[in-house]
């Protein structure tokens, strides 16, 4: 595990902390005093209906979107203040973040170069996400599932302490979903903080430790998965909370 603040090989655990985060766009409140914590060593599911504010929150944590008020930090600091951001937090917010005419290898080389990572990190990331065989294909010729793997490779290339994934299951086949489940579990067991937004309730039950439910820009529940479902199914509890109020 890399860390910008410690010697090589020494891991710095980093939490994601969102405090009283609000965002107003054109007079519409899209985030309303959102607060939650994602902890090291745990996979935190970030769930909610479409338009609930999940992606906006993830973008705010990464500094892509500005908060109107409140604060979002990774490892105690706003993400942009880290010197080697890719080694602090890896993010996959879209499967279409790579230029369609650039090869997968070229895309990862750009990401690696931006943070001073060696080319060996590119090869390692390609191997890790299982696309080494097609690494020289233009991204535009890759399937959605392969592009999703590439996005994950981009997030993991710096061996970050924190992983932020927005609907990473989109486009993945059954085998890849199982593979992702194993990877997320291993990353969390290795001490990393994993925050994943998904609509797949079965995957949340299978891999997540904690759940944050957001609806209409407000966090309506944040806590451990066991506490949340309390013997029922995730889908049942979630729909009960979100759709029936």
């Amino acid at each position: 595990m890399h860390s910008e603040d410690t010697a090589a090989g020494e891991r710095t655990a980093a939490s994601i902390v969102v405090e009283d985060a609000s965002k107003v766009i054109d007079g519409v409140t899209v985030l309303d005093s959102v607060s939650f914590v994602a902890l090291p060593g745990r996979v935190t599911a970030f769930v909610g209906p479409n338009g609930a504010g999940k992606t906006t929150t993830l973008r705010a944590i990464l500094g892509i979107d500005r908060l109107t008020s409140g604060r979002a930090t990774i490892g105690g600091r706003p993400f942009a203040e880290h010197r080697r951001p890719v080694q602090v937090a890896g993010a996959s917010l879209t499967a279409d973040g790579a230029h369609p005419r650039r090869s997968a290898r070229g895309h990862l080389r750009v990401v690696a170069a931006s943070n001073g990572l060696p080319d060996t990190a590119v090869d390692a990331a390609l191997d890790l996400v299982g696309i080494a065989e097609i690494a020289d294909l233009p991204v535009g010729q890759m399937s959605l599932g392969m592009r999703q793997r590439l996005a994950l490779g981009s997030a993991l290339i710096g061996d970050p302490a924190v992983l932020i994934l927005d609907e990473p299951h989109n486009g993945l086949d059954a085998g890849a979903i199982r593979w992702l489940r194993v990877v997320l579990r291993q990353l969390a067991d290795g001490g990393r903080t994993v925050l994943v937004s998904t609509h797949l309730m079965t995957e949340i039950e299978a891999v997540c430790d904690d759940v944050v439910v957001i609806d209409q820009g407000r966090v309506v529940m944040a806590g451990s998965l066991g506490h949340f479902i309390g013997g029922a199914s995730m889908e049942e509890r979630y729909l009960d909370m979100v759709e029936r109020g």
């Binding site: 973008r59 892509i64 942009a80 951001p85 973040g97 790579a98 005419r101 895309h107």
Partner: protein, 244 residues
């Protein structure tokens, strides 16, 4: 900043259309100058240097549009999300983009003017035209750099490749085309526009007095660079303040 700059250069190098665009932009100026020289378009009063600069507007347009589409393309292709998650400090990202596009533009412009001067010198009948002052062609390098920076900044402001390319074309061509409408401002606006700056510096085709910048070619060049700097600052402010 150095790492981000390297990554920006690598972005250009790893997409064929992007480096090919820069290569074509580099060839645009000497190709047009060659065409003009080979078809007898260089007048008796022109020098080899002013003949070499006849393709300047093509070079300005090509580099400006290349820079604009490159920058705006980050939004059109959604690659800006990855750029902002790997280099989240926006001032660094902007500086890296500016440095990378500026480097390519400066190197490309230098290659352009040297090539143009050599091919025009080779094509024109010997002994008929004076060589002129080849050092004056540095104004072409300044003009191409300024238009490239403007293109990049406008690309990041509009986030639209077509809109930013259109603005570059207008910025290069409109001042001279619509100069008559500017009244007393014509000398200031047209005189400091990139194409006219080059013409004044190389001393080629005679410009009407009302299109000559007050204070001469050097002042015109400085004014053009100042305008490009102001637009670049506008681009930086936009990138820093707006949501990604």
């Amino acid at each position: 900043m150095r790492l981000a700059w390297r990554a920006e250069l690598l972005k250009i190098a790893t997409v064929r259309g992007q480096w090919l665009g820069a290569a074509i932009a580099t060839l645009a100026l000497p190709a047009i100058s060659l065409l003009v020289a080979a078809t007898g378009g260089v007048g008796a009063g022109d020098t080899v240097t002013s003949g070499a600069a006849t393709g300047s507007v093509a070079g300005l347009l090509a580099f400006g549009v290349w820079a604009a589409t490159l920058a705006a393309g980050e939004y059109a292709q959604q690659t800006m999300i990855v750029s902002l998650t790997t280099v989240p400090r926006r001032s660094v990202l902007y500086g890296a983009k500016l440095a990378a596009i500026g480097c390519v533009a400066v190197v490309g412009a230098l290659v352009s003017v040297v090539t143009a001067w050599l091919v025009v010198w080779a094509v024109l009948p010997s002994g008929v035209h004076h060589l002129g002052d080849p050092a004056a062609l540095v104004s072409v390098v300044f003009a191409i750099s300024a238009v490239s920076v403007l293109g990049m900044a406008v690309g990041l402001m509009t986030r639209s490749p077509s809109a930013s390319a259109s603005i570059v074309v207008v910025a290069v061509l409109l001042p001279k085309a619509a100069g008559g409408l500017l009244g007393g401002l014509q000398r200031w606006v047209v005189g400091a526009s990139p194409g006219t700056v080059v013409t004044q510096a190389v001393g080629g085709a005679q410009l009407p007095h009302n299109q000559m910048f007050p204070g001469g070619a050097a002042a015109a060049t400085v004014t053009m660079l100042l305008v490009a700097t102001v637009v670049a600052v506008g681009g930086a402010v936009t990138l820093v303040r707006r949501d990604g």
